[in-house]
Structures are given as structure tokens and as C-alpha cells.
């Protein structure tokens, strides 16, 4: 009886083994497929990011304006080309959404009195480019003053 | 390793790329 039992067991084990091997095979195939998918996605993301970075760099150089995402869910806007004597000198301010989901400006350097007024205007009009153009003009005015 | 790569792709797809897209769009809008 033992012998028969052991033979059965061996047969089961073999079937289990085959099952496992088939399983491993599936897993391996799935792994390769996933690897393939991920590396393709990675590659596509890399290229897309590269293109986006290139266009952002082009805008940054021509607008002499850098936009950075900084900790605390803030956007930092850094202007250059303001002071003709020191074009590389940075003029900046940060922007965040407050609890009421409105734009809120802060950390302006050098400080601008008219920033609060500009903040109100951009909340009303949502015209971001006008807002930034006014801020740049105000920074330039500080240089001339 | 594959999971790590998968996490990276997810992050790229959900955060990095949209963020870069919004920055480029913001520049475009400005």
C-alpha cells in the first residue's frame, strides 16, 4: 500500500511540478511583457519629457523667466534680464492656492507694494500673462528708481 | 526591480509629465 501511496504522491508531485513550471513560464512571459511595456513607456516618457523640457527651456531663455515647482505646493517665478547692469540678477516671487483655492502670492524679492493689487486683478481676470507682465514691469521700475 | 521601474513610470505618467505639460502650457499662455 505504501508503495502505491508513494507512487501516487510522486505522480501528483510531478503534475504539481509541471503545473508550477507552466506557471513559472507564464509568469516569465508576463514578466517579459511587462518589462517590455514598462521600458517602452519609460522610453516614451523620457522622450516626451525631453521634448517638454526643450520647449520649456526655449520659453525660459526667451522670456527670461524660470518657473519652478517648490516644496509646499508653491510655484516660484524667477525673472532675469531686469537690471541692465546685472542681467543675471534674479527677481522672484512665489504663488500658491490658498484654502479658498485662490491665487496667493508671497516671498517677493525685492518686495513690491503693488503685488497685492496685481494679485486681486489676476484672481478676477485669471489673465496670467498680463499678471506676470505687470510684475516684470514693476521689477524694472524698482531698478530705475 | 521591475516594480521599481513600474513605480517610476507611474510617477512620470501621473506627476512629472503632467507637471512638465502644465509648465510648457503656462509658458505658452504667458
Amino acid at each position: 500500500d505504501n508503495l502505491l501511496k508513494m507512487l501516487d504522491e510522486v505522480k501528483n508531485k510531478k503534475q504539481e511540478l509541471e503545473g508550477l513550471i507552466a506557471n513559472i513560464q507564464d509568469l516569465k512571459e508576463e514578466y517579459c511583457r511587462k518589462k517590455e511595456t514598462i521600458s517602452t513607456a519609460n522610453k516614451a516618457n523620457g522622450e516626451r519629457l525631453k521634448r517638454l523640457q526643450t520647449s520649456a527651456d526655449t520659453y525660459r531663455d526667451h522670456l527670461e523667466l524660470e518657473i519652478r515647482k517648490i516644496h509646499g505646493d508653491k510655484l516660484q517665478f524667477i525673472f532675469t534680464g531686469i537690471d541692465p547692469k546685472k542681467p543675471e540678477r534674479p527677481y522672484m516671487f512665489s504663488l500658491r492656492l490658498n484654502e479658498a483655492r485662490d491665487y496667493e502670492v508671497s516671498d517677493c524679492s525685492p518686495p513690491l507694494e503693488c503685488l497685492a493689487e496685481f494679485q486681486e486683478k489676476v484672481r478676477k481676470t485669471n489673465n496670467f500673462s498680463a499678471f506676470l507682465a505687470n510684475v516684470r514691469k514693476a521689477f524694472i521700475a524698482t531698478v530705475h528708481n | 526591480d521591475l516594480q521599481q521601474q513600474e513605480r517610476k513610470v507611474d510617477e512620470d505618467t501621473t506627476v512629472t509629465i503632467p507637471s512638465a505639460v502644465y509648465v510648457a502650457q503656462l509658458y505658452r499662455c504667458i
Binding site: K69, L75, L97, N126 | Y22, V23, Q25
Partner: protein, 250 residues
């Protein structure tokens, strides 16, 4: 000076600016050494004429009342020292030299005036000969041209290919010029072939430039179409407020 003395003594051609010399003075100038420079001699002449006039004056004054000889002589010697200092100053600041330089300048200017008058006269004679020669040449042309071709009322004659033998314009001063110049008419005739080829080349060039222009216009239109499409496509995806979206992204 020699020339002044001659002129003033003979009372001819007198220099209006100077009174004639007193005959007694010529001895004075002789007594001044000729070795001195002209300006020094003039200064010495001024001094010695002052002393000469003092000597001439003294005997006249002797018989006047309250005349004191010592005081007169004292005054005369102090004046002559002052005159000496003055002439030295005139000598040192170049005033005396100017008298001579001016004169020489005047002399040269008079001289150059005469020479230039003579030159002008010579030129006038030359130009009138020249004018006669050109008039002859003009008449020659007018004779040669058949009357119907002669433009009415204009004195200029149309330049046509008329052979004028050199003898007619030999007299003008332009003969060297006219003889050295090549025969432009001939040169132009020889170049006709070249001009014809140039014309062909220019036509070819013009044609290809026109084609290039057309191609350029076409490609510009195409580029404009493509850029409109690109803009439309990029604007489609543009979000209404990307800043807000960006801020919401964690």
C-alpha cells in the same frame, strides 16, 4: 635802403607812406657798418638820426632866453638812452624785421602779381587759339552733315560716324588727348558679339530667378499652412488655467 634813397632823392615814384629823406641824412646811413643785420642797421639809423637832430637843434636854441645847455644835454642824453632801449625792444620783438619781411613779401607779391598777369595773358592767348580751332572743327562737322539731318535751331550737332581727318583738329591742344585715345567706336563694334551672349545669359538668369521666386513663394505658403495647423493642434490641448492645475498637482 638803396631803392628807397634813389626813389626819394629823385622824387619819382615816391613811397606814399614815407616822407623823403633829408639829404644830410644819407651820410648817417653811410656811417653805419654794412656788416650789421638790416634790422640792426635800421635801429642804429633811428638812433643816429635822433642824435643828428639834437646836434642840429642845439645851435638854434643857444640864443633863446633861459636856455640851459647842461639841462638840454642831460635831457637829450636820457631821451637817447630811452630811444636806445626802445629800438632794442623793437629789434628783439621782431618789429624791425617785419619792415624788411613785409617789404620783401610786398616785393615778391608785386613780382608774383606781374608774373601771374603775364601767365593769364598767355593762357588767354592760348584759349582764344583753342576756341578758334574748336570753332573750325564745329564748322567742319556742320558742313559735313547733310542739311536735312541738321537738328533745327540747335547749335549742337548730332555725333554721327563722320571721319574727320586729323589735320582739322591738329591745331587744338586736345590733339595729344585725341590721338592717344583708342577708337571707341571700333571697340564697341567688336564687343557686339559679347553683348549678344551677355543678353542671352541675362535672359537665362532672369528665367531661373523667376522660377526660384515662384518656388520660394510656394514654400512660404506651405510653411504658413503647416504653422497654422501646428498652432491649432497645440492650442487644442491648451488648458484654460495651467497654473492652477500645476499648483494642484502634488
Amino acid at each position: 635802403r638803396q631803392s628807397w634813397r634813389r626813389a626819394s632823392v629823385k622824387e619819382i615814384n615816391r613811397r606814399m607812406s614815407l616822407a623823403p629823406f633829408h639829404p644830410g641824412i644819407t651820410e648817417l646811413s653811410r656811417s653805419i657798418s654794412l656788416k650789421l643785420a638790416e634790422s640792426k642797421r635800421l635801429g642804429a639809423l633811428l638812433l643816429s638820426s635822433f642824435q643828428f637832430s639834437v646836434e642840429k637843434l642845439e645851435p638854434f636854441l643857444k640864443n633863446t632866453k633861459e636856455f640851459s645847455l647842461e639841462c638840454f644835454r642831460e635831457k637829450a642824453s636820457s631821451l637817447s638812452e630811452e630811444l636806445k632801449r626802445f629800438t632794442d625792444r623793437l629789434e628783439s620783438d621782431g618789429t624791425l624785421q617785419k619792415c624788411f619781411v613785409e617789404d620783401s613779401e610786398e616785393k615778391t607779391s608785386e613780382f608774383s602779381l606781374e608774373t601771374s598777369v603775364a601767365e593769364v595773358k598767355e593762357y588767354m592767348a592760348k584759349f582764344s587759339v583753342e576756341r578758334q580751332t574748336w570753332d573750325q572743327l564745329l564748322q567742319q562737322y556742320q558742313k559735313e552733315i547733310p542739311p536735312d539731318e541738321m537738328p533745327r535751331g540747335s547749335s549742337e550737332t548730332k555725333i554721327t560716324e563722320i571721319k574727320v581727318d586729323p589735320a582739322t583738329y591738329l591745331g587744338s591742344s586736345q590733339k595729344e588727348v585725341l590721338n592717344t585715345k583708342p577708337d571707341y567706336q571700333e571697340i564697341l563694334r567688336n564687343q557686339n558679339q559679347v553683348f549678344a551672349c551677355m543678353e542671352l545669359v541675362m535672359d537665362e538668369l532672369q528665367g531661373s530667378v523667376k522660377q526660384l521666386q515662384a518656388f520660394m513663394d510656394e514654400s512660404t505658403q506651405y510653411l504658413q499652412k503647416v504653422s497654422v495647423q501646428l498652432k491649432k493642434r497645440s492650442m487644442e490641448q491648451l488648458d484654460s488655467s495651467p497654473a492652477r492645475k500645476l499648483l494642484k498637482l502634488h
